[in-house]
């Protein structure tokens, strides 16, 4: 029978099927961090069980770490406790631990691919919803709750019903100044934040074939924002070139074996999806969000739509605009911006900083803007320095911080103050996500850069034209 890419990977990992219940799914790689793992380890302790395959789990600290002065002790006592718990649990159970200050430390979804932990055709889970990032490699990757973290530690399996399958095709080519982030925000604006709930998505079409691995990671990362369990892209030459030779990638004979497995990882021509969408990539503009969920996005040149033309109840919509301090029919261009955040597992990789640099180069940070530039990992941080991007940033009045999740979820000190507007390259614009009362406009690194140098929402294409 014809199978989709998703079927092949899922079915290949089913240990057993339960009548009237979920599948028992084997997990190849498990990533853990300090926030969602401590209670799982407590569970193991109270049951008196060990970690079944410690070599399949990797720990990094990221959600709750400072992005300045990482060499100093963490001041916040609760945060310090979580970091300590991650370290001592990892040591006790024999799990690799990349804590604060470790050279491999960074955001879990950035370091996983960088070190070759992420592999095509693998099943990957983490107690973080943006685990969907790893789907860029043709892996089945998704976020799990703490009870499931405990399950994976104890048995390397979780129990879930097989999701339905959706394919999203984007044809054509992307326009000038349009990035993978815009593609993702566009898709979510079309499907809404619940449009893919219950589905696992495969992204297909020329736009994704032409995309770099970093871009694919950005798109797959945001799959969860339309409710999907995850999203994936079939591995190709681009994928294999990225994976080959990384520290935890298979080597020698194991590589040959893995390679022949990777080659099987594509959807059969006549395979059927439960739902399918096709969009024309050439129609996508640089995007920005204006509301309090990631589905509330529009092309940057557009006006905020009327309540009548959007999904969901009018009162919820009005509550959202009210929180943002915006009105129906407002133009987004020209809205004042107080903060700019570039970073997170969505847009905290080197390409994102290159894009940011391409606009701020030769310009100055706007005086009214506070900017936080936070690399996703030490590898990204090092590349920023090596490629001379740091000089560009410094020249333009920006400061580079140290790796971590930072203002993406504002668990550490990087909080946007109440009432302030932030153009952010992260993934969620929920009320208070970036700090109590903060107002988030999600956008690409190019849009973030344009806001950072002009102090307001600006179409990056205007600034790019000048240079061309």
């Amino acid at each position: 029978m014809s199978k989709t890419l998703f079927d092949k990977v899922w079915d290949g990992h089913v240990v057993r099927k339960i009548e009237g219940g979920p599948d028992v799914l084997f997990i190849d790689r498990h990533l853990i961090h300090e926030v969602t793992s401590p209670v799982a380890f407590l569970g193991l302790k109270s049951r008196g069980i060990k970690v079944l395959y410690p070599e399949r789990t990797f720990a990094t600290a990221d959600h709750n770490t400072p992005t300045m002065n990482q060499h100093l002790p963490v001041e916040d006592q609760l945060s310090a406790n979580q970091l300590k718990a991650l370290e001592s649990n990892s040591n006790e159970y024999g799990i690799s631990h990349w804590g604060l200050g470790h050279q491999k430390n960074g955001i879990v979804h950035v370091v996983g691919p960088e070190y070759g932990i992420t592999q095509p055709g693998a099943t990957i889970v983490c107690g973080d919803s943006h685990t969907s990032t790893h789907g860029a490699f043709g892996a089945i990757a998704f976020g799990i709750g703490t009870s499931e973290v405990e399950m994976v530690l104890a048995t390397q399996c979780i129990m879930q019903p097989k999701p339905q399958k959706m394919r999203i095709n984007i044809t054509g080519s992307l326009g000038y100044g349009v990035t993978p982030k815009d593609v993702a925000l566009f898709i979510i604006s079309q499907l809404t934040t619940s449009g893919a709930t219950g589905y696992f998505v495969e992204y297909a079409g020329k736009v994704f074939e032409e995309m770099t691995m970093e871009g694919r990671m950005t798109v797959c990362n945001l799959s969860i924002e339309m409710g999907a369990r995850g999203g994936m892209i079939a591995p190709d030459e681009t994928t294999i070139n990225y994976v080959k030779g990384r520290e935890f990638s298979p080597k020698g004979e194991a590589w040959d074996k893995a390679l022949s497995y990777y080659k099987t990882l594509k959807t059969d021509d006549d395979a059927v999806f439960d739902k399918e969408y096709t969009f024309d990539g050439s129609l996508i503009e640089p995007m920005i969000t204006y509301g309090t969920n990631p589905g509330m996005g529009i092309g940057i040149s557009k006006d905020i739509p009327d309540a009548g033309s959007v999904e969901g109840g009018v009162s919820t919509y009005e509550k959202s605009l009210n929180y943002m301090g915006f009105n129906q029919g407002d133009q987004m261009i020209g809205k004042p911006v107080d903060y700019v955040f570039i970073g997170s597992c969505t847009n905290g990789r080197i390409e994102d900083f290159r894009a940011f640099a391409s606009i701020v180069k030769g310009r100055k940070k706007a005086d009214n803007v506070t900017a936080w530039l936070v690399p996703g990992s030490h590898i990204v941080e090092a590349a920023i320095k090596e490629e001379g991007l740091l000089d560009i940033f410094t020249e333009a009045g920006f400061v580079l911080r140290q790796p971590g999740c930072s203002a993406c979820l504002a668990m550490n000190d990087d909080k946007i103050p109440a009432g302030k507007y932030a153009v952010s390259t992260s993934n969620r614009n929920f009320e208070g996500r970036q700090g109590p009362g903060s107002r988030t406009l999600l956008a690409s690194p190019l849009v973030a850069a344009a806001a950072a140098v002009t102090g307001k929402v600006t179409d990056p294409r205007e600034l790019m034209m000048v240079e061309a």
Binding site: G21, P38, A154, M159, T316, M411, R428, E431, R433
Partner: protein
Amino acid sequence: MAYDKFEILKSTAVPLPIENVDTDQIIPARFLKATERVGFGDNLFRDWRYNTDGSPKADFVLNNPTYKGKILLGGKNFGSGSSREHAAWAIYDYGFRAVVSSFFADIFRGNCLNIGVLPVQISPAFLENIFTEVHKNPETEIEINLSAQTITLLSTGEKESFDISSYKKDNMMNGFDDIDYLQNIKSEIQEFAAQLPL
């Protein structure tokens, strides 16, 4: 972690007629710093419930003594966003045993089932009726019968059935969790792992 068995729940309900309630509202990230699972109920809906100075916001439903009970009524797409199980813990710890909505986000639904909160998905029209009845009379009782998979609005007798897999239902009714099951098939898992390509 063990939780109370769920059989029949008869209770008044707390109405929250807002759509797309995300897990950052259910429990904001800054309250995820604990290393133990205690006290999350205090911060349930923290920023909707309290002013920045810690005083309660009078217009938020959890601060309105008229509404109480073990059932939380939510708008469509309840629990979207982050995978934090803390959101489900906060709901359980506050004292809710069931959440009723016309649509749930996936991970949140799974997390609830794993810790003993029953997500009950019903039709938008029925949800609307329950909201109306509860707003009209906060003493209105709702009965959720897990074994029969039905939810009944007792004031009108209106009733709907809801879906749950027989496996999960069994777990909820017995207070079991998945680890109990998986522990029992460990050798099967190990044999399976030995033949995997990665």
